[in-house]
Symmetry: C2
Subunit: 343 residues, 2 copies
């Protein structure tokens, strides 16, 4: 399996997700500005992967910072990285984790501080893979055998440090011997489904079919879909889920057709400071993502475009939330708080 993100002596190496699957190109971010730009431009994307990238961004930033201004540098690094994308809470979670570690290192030598931050960033990555494996174990039993699983966007190895959240659950179900195949919404405008989910599942030999986003309803009505599994960018205390735009539509259509709708996300995706999803900030991205596909214009010049990158699925459409600590069901205020508090 390809590595989504790696810490190397030369910098933070990422596979460029804007170019897949046409080209498998790696970019090396040599300082934290380049890491921030890679997150902004979606060279790396997916809430957990953004968390890992942010942790490595902090580490490389402090690694390159002058001894005499470590505190000031740390502040500027965290501020720039936090400003890259507003919706995925894992970004802020990872930055906070690095900040807390840094605060605890007060009085240590600059070399010691740097070494600790670099080790922590690599630890965030390793933990993420372990978390996804655990999510897979908890989620696999929920997947109906002998049916198709529908997924939206890419919540796979490429959206994480490896294995994936939603695709991790699918992988674990396949490993458990279930006979399933996958329908991947292509997920306009960035085409994470057609480009990334299709590519990584194809590499694993998991039978995958691409559909356009507007076909999901047709197939949910057809009877062949056994369940929906998606990832999440932020989950409020009441179980409202922010995820890639289009998730809300799929959730409504699943409910309308009596099909379970599962969200797979690590505990770091929970934002218990928000009592509902209405308060989750929704990123608006460039109109060009909609009007151009790989640089080819598909819409008239001068036309208006809306491009919210995420939407919010109210908790009533969510059958269960699969985390590394277990599966939460309604009422989510209780079940999520219990999972967040446990270890």
């Amino acid at each position: 399996m390809v590595e989504t993100i790696q810490w190397t002596a030369g910098g933070v190496v990422m596979i460029d997700q804007t170019k897949l699957p046409l080209e498998a190109v790696y970019v090396t971010c040599k300082d934290y500005h380049e890491v921030a730009e890679a997150i902004r431009s979606m060279v790396i994307r997916g809430a957990p992967a953004i968390g890992v990238a942010a942790a490595m961004g902090v580490a490389i930033g402090v690694l390159r910072a002058p001894d005499e201004n470590l505190d000031g540098s740390m502040e500027a690094i965290c501020e720039e990285l936090a400003g890259t994308r507003p919706t995925a809470v894992n970004l802020f979670w990872a930055i906070d984790r690095m900040k807390k570690l840094y605060a605890g290192l007060r009085g240590k030598s600059p070399a010691g501080i740097r070494a600790a931050l670099v080790a922590e960033a690599q630890q965030v990555k390793l933990e993420d893979i372990a978390i996804n494996r655990a999510m897979g174990r908890h989620g696999a039993p929920l997947i109906p055998d002998g049916k198709t699983v529908l997924t939206h966007c890419n919540a796979g190895a490429l959206a994480t440090a490896g294995y994936g959240t939603a695709l991790g659950v699918i992988r674990a179900a396949v490993e458990a011997g279930k006979k399933i195949d996958v329908f991947a919404d292509e997920t306009r405008p960035f085409l994470q489904g057609a480009r990334l989910t299709a590519w990584e599942l194809q590499q694993d030999g998991i039978e995958t079919t691409i559909i356009t986003d507007n076909m999901a309803g047709h197939f949910l009505k057809s009877g062949r879909i056994g369940c929906v599994v998606v990832g999440a960018d932020r989950i409020a205390a009441n179980g409202d889920v922010a995820n890639k735009v289009g998730t809300y539509s799929v959730a409504v259509l699943a409910k309308e057709n009596g099909i379970p709708f599962y969200v797979a996300a690590p505990v770091s995706t929970l934002d218990l400071t928000l009592d509902s999803g209405d308060k989750i900030p929704i990123e608006q991205r460039s109109p060009k993502e909609v009007t151009e596909v790989f640089g080819v214009r598909v819409a008239p010049e001068g036309i208006a475009v809306q491009n919210p990158a995420f939407d919010v699925t109210p908790n009533r459409y969510v059958t269960a939330i699969i985390t590394e600590r277990g599966v939460a069901a309604a009422p989510y205020e209780e079940s999520l708080r219990r999972l967040a508090g446990s270890v």
Copy 2:
């Protein structure tokens, strides 16, 4: 306004809808095979426009057929045209209309027969524009003032002989002085919304915003959409509506959010021989429409694709069906039969 399709001395001239809005290119179909290919390849598309093209295809076929084999030619022409696309019933309606006329001309001179068929094909076109204007008059009062109208695919001037069905209702509402703007689903894979609806509404100065298909739910939930208006390719006796894939999803999301969902279609779109939409044949199109955008590959090689061109919206999601003879509401078995029988 641009002409979608025209009868000329040199052949049937159509604006090439596979190239819009990047290029406004006209193609001339010099025989009925070229008309059939234009329908198949979606140079012309949209149920009413396909009907006009089929009528003109029959006319040009008989015009070019040898005197001694007019009957055999007529049969071959109708068979080839009927085999181009299976879902839009207007195709079969137009061919039947030409067949009935032809049968009534038995005994006339070949020149007389040809002249009558050519005149009839042009009449089908003229009637279509008048029908759309009437639909606009009936539909405009239903459009809420001061809100956004959401539409899917292109049911506009380009999908008809002119003015449009769904977009005709929108144009009529604007002409009536209503302050509305339009959200156009881009409508993958062929991008009729981003390419065609956006282009023709922009030319009319009607404020239009493109969204990807998977954003429709988000905006239907947001409160800014006052109603949905779409066209139809075939409507069963019970009011089930076959239309561009994704229509079903929009209808479910509209109902879930308490927003009226209107279908605008001429009486020629009714197929009262089918008691429900389950019996409407759904065309499967080439995987390349999904995996390539204007020739640019967007998915991994060798991946499976589903590409149903249409879906069926059950009647319970349809608030009303707007025709040139008036507005039908549930129970549709009665209201549609009444409209079909009236004149």
